[in-house]
């Protein structure tokens, strides 16, 4: 008996993006364009993460060095612009990069879910995909949630009972002395490093930067970058927990008083 095959004239598209509009909108509508935006915003966010780490290393110099660094950020670029204007420009740029990064990730996730509504019924055996590449959404989400806490803890201060505006050194040390905060900080940075170990390589591919001559170097760059961020950022909670970095004015002295004494 012959098998009855139903000839089908193809399948309906799962997605019909609107056509037309300005070139940049058309570009962003496509998944390739979204990946491109994700790569460009990823570079901006990587730059921030690296500069943030370099600035924070001043924690190991002295309280004055770190607090002066914070002051310098608010004061840049000297008298060329009113105070904090340039800092706000950077902040707005970062927020824009973050929003676009998350928005394109969301859009791509929806596209990908639709592309395979019925999954494999037997166990998949992945050959090349890495833990990092398969958990990008989750590590990204962890970093996003952590970022909210991090801002509440050390920028706005509403998650930090000992918060004093303009005294990042004490804020940071007080915060990290709480073991739970140190642990959350460490876990979030492990997630960030895993995220970067895939993202810092795949962004080149998304942008079309590819040459067999230096593809291996790009892969090593991503691991190296993620490693630097991991080691650098993990050192802060560890140093505070081990007591290597201490409060400038230990004991129950009110922080404000202590600041007055140290002249800041």
């Amino acid at each position: 008996m012959a098998a009855t095959l139903t000839p089908r004239g193809g399948v309906a598209p799962v997605r019909r993006p609107r056509k037309g509009g300005p070139a940049i909108v058309r570009f962003y509508r496509s998944a390739v364009g979204k990946k491109w935006v994700m790569a460009v915003t990823g570079i901006a966010l990587m730059g921030f993460v690296l500069v943030h780490l370099i600035g924070n290393i001043k924690l190991y110099l002295s309280k004055e060095e770190l607090n002066l660094y914070g002051e310098a950020l608010r004061d840049m670029p000297g008298h060329l612009l009113p105070r904090t204007w340039l800092l706000w420009a950077f902040r707005l740029g970062l927020v824009a990069a973050f929003v676009l990064h998350v928005h394109s990730a969301w859009g791509l996730t929806v596209i990908n879910r639709r592309a395979r509504p019925v999954g494999y019924q037997s166990k998949r055996d992945y050959v090349a995909a890495t833990f990092a590449s398969r958990t990008m959404r989750w590590t990204g989400l962890i970093v996003l949630l952590y970022l909210v806490f991090h801002l509440m803890d050390l920028t706005w201060g509403n998650a930090n009972p000992d918060f004093v505006r303009g005294d990042p050194y004490n804020n940071l040390v007080y915060s990290m002395q709480r073991p739970a905060v140190a642990l959350v900080y460490a876990l979030a940075n492990v997630a960030l490093a895993i995220h970067l170990s895939h993202g810092a390589w795949s962004l080149f591919q998304s942008l079309g930067i590819n040459n067999p001559r230096y593809n291996g170097a790009l892969r090593r760059f991503a691991y190296g970058f993620a490693g630097i961020i991991l080691v650098g950022n993990l050192s802060f909670p560890i140093a505070v927990q081990l007591g290597l970095v201490d409060l400038a004015c230990p004991g129950d002295d009110p922080v404000a008083e202590c600041n007055e004494e140290s002249g800041l």
């Binding site: 089908r8 399948v11 990908n112 592309a115 494999y120 591919q205």
Partner: protein, 260 residues
């Protein structure tokens, strides 16, 4: 030829039609020669099923020498099975051990609906080709050989891309159900060559956008590259991304004139 025989347990996806619910069925398969191809092993199972008056397992196949792209299925969770750079027809049973349990399942993607058992409809790949996988060339007398000089590395790269047999393993293996490797190969084997320049930018936009109507997006897991029976590199995906951005954002009157 070895006289050794293997016995394997085969669990196969059975689905009577496009809208029928599917299920796994398990078969005991004795007398498997290590020299058989995977499809020959399925032939043995099917002959027995027919003798028993049952429906044989439907699977796509044609040339059985790894160049037509008809065959393909998930074998133990890997597209085309455990051997790298081979289609299912050239996977030999010697890659399995006596007593192994082998599970086979059709490609899964929204754009690849199951027609029956292990056969899926891959028309969506044809839609991508129709939208730009061609060049316009004047017909007439055959041109002289080597009339258009092409550097050897360029010709090699174009040939590497052109090795794509359109089997759909890249889509099947991709955790996102993306057809990036297929489309990139089909875009770039023309975009790399002088003959492909006239339609280069329209081709890239049209093929990418048709692809995106049916398939997922690339997140660089590299599963496609590992599954590809022709071992096509994901480097072509980067080249396609570059050409797509250029086609969308660059000044077309200028990029059309230059060979970047």
């Amino acid at each position: 030829m070895s006289d050794k025989q293997m016995r394997i347990t085969l669990t196969a996806w059975r689905q009577d039609g496009p809208d029928a619910p599917g299920r796994f069925e398990t078969y005991d398969v004795p007398g498997v020669s290590p020299d058989m191809s995977f499809l020959e092993m399925l032939d043995v199972v099917n002959e027995r099923l027919q003798r028993e008056g049952k429906e044989p397992i439907a699977f796509d196949h044609d040339c059985r020498e790894g160049i037509c792209g008809s065959c393909g299925m998930m074998i133990n969770g890997q597209a085309h099975g455990p051997e790298r750079g081979t289609a299912t027809c050239q996977l030999h049973m010697r890659k399995f051990r006596d007593g192994d349990h082998v599970t086979i399942e059709p490609w899964r993607a929204a754009a690849f609906p199951v027609i029956r058992d292990l056969i899926v409809d891959r028309t969506a790949l044809d839609r991508i080709i129709e939208s730009g996988g061609y060049i316009s060339a004047p017909t007439g007398g055959a041109p002289d050989a080597n009339l258009i000089p092409i550097p050897k590395p360029v010709a090699d790269a174009a040939m590497d891309a052109a090795a794509c047999i359109g089997c759909g393993a890249c889509v099947a293996a991709c955790p996102n159900g993306a057809a990036q490797l297929f489309t990139a190969a089909k875009v770039q084997h023309l975009n790399l060559l002088p003959q492909g320049q006239a339609e280069r930018w329209d081709r890239t936009i049209n093929m990418v956008e048709t692809m995106e109507e049916y398939f997922g997006s690339c997140t660089l897991h590299r599963e496609c590259e590992a599954a590809c029976p022709k071992s096509i590199s994901i480097d072509f995906i980067a080249l396609m991304n570059r050409d797509y951005a250029k086609a969308q954002l660059a000044q077309r009157r200028l990029v059309g004139q230059t060979f970047p």
